[in-house]
Point group: C3
Chain length 342, copies 3
């Protein structure tokens, strides 16, 4: 359906690629559609949702978002109910992959108006995973807009998170809020995507951001640290890294939790396990939340209760994780509208 | 989409929870929609279909039912294309489950207007399975109506079954009909859900019901025997248990077949195998059907031919299993309409 | 939804079953809808897409095709998210299959207006696979039209291929074109379906067709050779088999590539492996394409780059494989319209 397309399509790969004005417009549109969910902005339009990994919220919210605007989402799972895909250039494809991203992206572009992609890291070599080549492969070859549904960042989650904070504080201006992004324990080393994203968007919104993690090894990739620093310069606010729970929580307005694996151990996770096991006490609990300034808690979900956050925190009225998840629907509808608007 | 919801949502977990008047209204609405399938009662609305087990009829009929009424169904398969879920309270979630039913149900309630749940027993411990905790977990935490798509009962099948019988006999009043629920052989011990449901609805409709099974060990759980006895008191009709094929079939108007595992061997199935193997002759065949009063045969499907019922019975005009399956579409549309009607 | 159906339904199992006039009408309708994609010819209608094997293009294009015409597609994967199915008659079903095609096809016919079926060969015994019994089982028992979504032929691909050639040559009349169907290497022995189909439709369109393959063992099943010969008599054109690359490519207007396993080794593939390994040079590359008369290249996809065709061929403007894949959407919409038109 790209017949009328004469220039390269716009994509939504990272919030950092979009102007603040455009992000603000999407957030405002999302807030509006939350109260008026049914429309026809995508009437007769379609999106392919390409999942290389499981999903509950992303799949449901994109599928319903398309439906509520008159469109249709097709869900594809390459290697499961579709064919495995090659992403390297020039390969003699005599191994597992049955087709190349060049054909997949071009063919899907014949059928649909947008393509969403979820592709988590392989967790073997961070220098490879950090190139985000699955997403970039789609963006390179597709002739329709591509949306990041979580790869090594999760920009849709960022927007849902910010919308939930704006609702909570009753203002679209989040400057001056003290924001803590805290690492938490999980039995396995997880993707840094949501942590990268939280750091990116919290600084973009001009908040005073503290990245709380057990040791310097748990710092995030320099690309996202650099983005955050650039954002501080542009938007005001501040950025600090801390390994001290009490001072980080002290006076916080927002606590956002996420577990992730330490990048220096990427692909060689055995020695990281005893380190992470020493920091189970990073779990968000009532005692820690009591240190905040009546702070609000959130998480991207899925969340392991009593591992990442206690039952008491999750069931507290200060937990807005469910609202944030609900906002996925609204912000993604706004992103889709922004990408296909004529 | 639960913003206007001020009290606990209504659910459709079991027919026994609903008044007879309400069930009759749903059946009448289903019969009407069978002749006028397209409508807009669910325009812009949605349902999440959460499948922990396979499905052909249930999935297809719910998905199309939503579509034919202007709505949309999202199909989710936790542990397969969504995350595995924890149902216990207070658990330290450091094992397989990535999120808790509290979040799953609350988040889905943000997106959809109804949630359908299919969750078969685990077949390890009946005292656990009989608590139906997956379904009850959704019902507890969801803020939108929950529909049982088969757990340890199968109320949607009950309605489709009754509608097919009403069509066959040309009357909504089934009182006075002799109804036989017969156990049949299957190589594996199966769920008692449809048997529990058949016993429940047949007595609810005031029929003279015989539960035919090989031995007393194949009787159903006391909860459903109790429901059936209460129904006989309320609706008239009768309830008997028999282990004699000839007398059970004699003069029957309806033969409904189902295989299930004997509850005393639940989770320790090896010693049950030689018992069930002795009763392969419970298969429904022409000789048995000849004992009935020109009786009609049905089954919930899927059905193994020449194991549960012979080819001759299945291909006979007295077999209404396909019509019953077709009615799933109509009764489920009526249930969805009843649950979201304003 | 077959209540108004009084005679046997029409199916689309093979192009060879349809008159040339009807195929031409479908192609014309597809070309028209390519420029006017949104309509209501399937308003309130539905199709079940039954996949026994993976799919990307077929699933996406059927699902979107139904949507763009106001209908809805339900995707089913028997043995994966639905129950395994028995296709033999009279079987005592005490093995894996939980239900019989008779019930599956009849029940689906209660729900939907059409059924699409993808069922690849089992690759064990060609004398069994060539009976196409999964597709024929659906066609026998369904009371609604059945569409072949690739079994041992791939008629939807045929139509998309022809439409792409008609677009390329700017004429619906393809007579006089020199058409080469070339075998190519693939690490595994593949289905002959698309090769059978290409041979069938290319001769039907009256082209001068050469089947290029390594040895006589790679000729196609006599059924399709016979169809092709009958088509030559009816439509003009010609049919030749060649094992010589240079003369086959010389002066060609169309090169269509496909890999397949040699039928004499069906089910006993080990001795075929060293044979096929000797013919890796059948890969379509620029040197071979230079022998053609400015020929156009296509393939049904998925395609392994630098195994079946080189990067240079795939990325050349003479490659129309992506357009052909895009045409799947349009021709399938036209087929669905043709089957449910009243």
């Amino acid at each position: 359906m790209d017949s009328a397309m004469t220039s390269a399509p716009q994509h939504f790969l990272n919030t950092q690629d979009w102007t603040r004005a455009r992000l603000d417009a999407v957030l405002a549109d999302a807030a509006r559609m939350k109260h008026e969910p049914i429309g026809d902005a995508l009437k007769g339009r379609s999106i392919a949702l390409v999942f290389f990994n499981p999903s509950l919220r992303t799949r449901t919210s994109f599928e319903l978002g398309a439906f509520q605007l008159g469109g249709h989402a097709v869900v594809l799972q390459p290697g499961k109910d579709a064919w495995p895909i090659e992403f390297d250039l020039g390969t003699v494809m005599d191994s597992d992959a049955e087709e190349h991203i060049a054909e997949v992206a071009r063919v899907l572009s014949q059928y649909v108006d947008m393509i969403g992609v979820r592709a988590f890291p392989k967790f073997v070599d961070w220098s490879v995973d950090r190139e985000d080549r699955v997403l970039k492969g789609f963006a390179k070859y597709a002739t329709v807009p591509v949306i990041n549904m979580e790869t090594i960042t999760h920009p849709c989650q960022e927007l849902a998170h910010v919308l939930a904070l704006q609702e909570h504080f009753g203002s679209s201006d989040l400057r001056g809020k003290k924001y803590v992004l805290t690492w938490t324990y999980h039995p396995r080393p997880l993707n840094t995507a949501v942590a990268n994203s939280a750091l990116t968007i919290a600084t973009r919104m001009g908040m005073d951001v503290t990245l709380l993690c057990p040791t310097p090894e748990y710092q995030l990739d320099e690309r996202y640290m650099d983005w955050a620093e650039a954002n501080v310069i542009e938007s005001g606010g501040s950025l600090a890294v801390s390994h001290d729970i009490d001072s980080a929580y002290a006076g916080a307005d927002v606590v956002y939790a996420k577990s992730w694996g330490a990048l220096p151990y990427f692909g060689n996770w055995a020695p990281e396990k005893p380190i992470r096991d020493r920091y189970k006490h990073f779990m968000v609990d009532e005692a820690k939340m009591a240190l905040t300034r009546d702070g609000v808690f959130s998480h991207c979900l899925p969340l392991r209760r009593n591992v990442k956050a206690s039952d008491a925190v999750m069931d507290s009225p200060r937990c807005i994780a469910v609202q944030e998840a609900g906002n996925r629907l609204h912000v993604q509808k706004a992103v889709m509208r922004a990408l296909v608007a004529r």
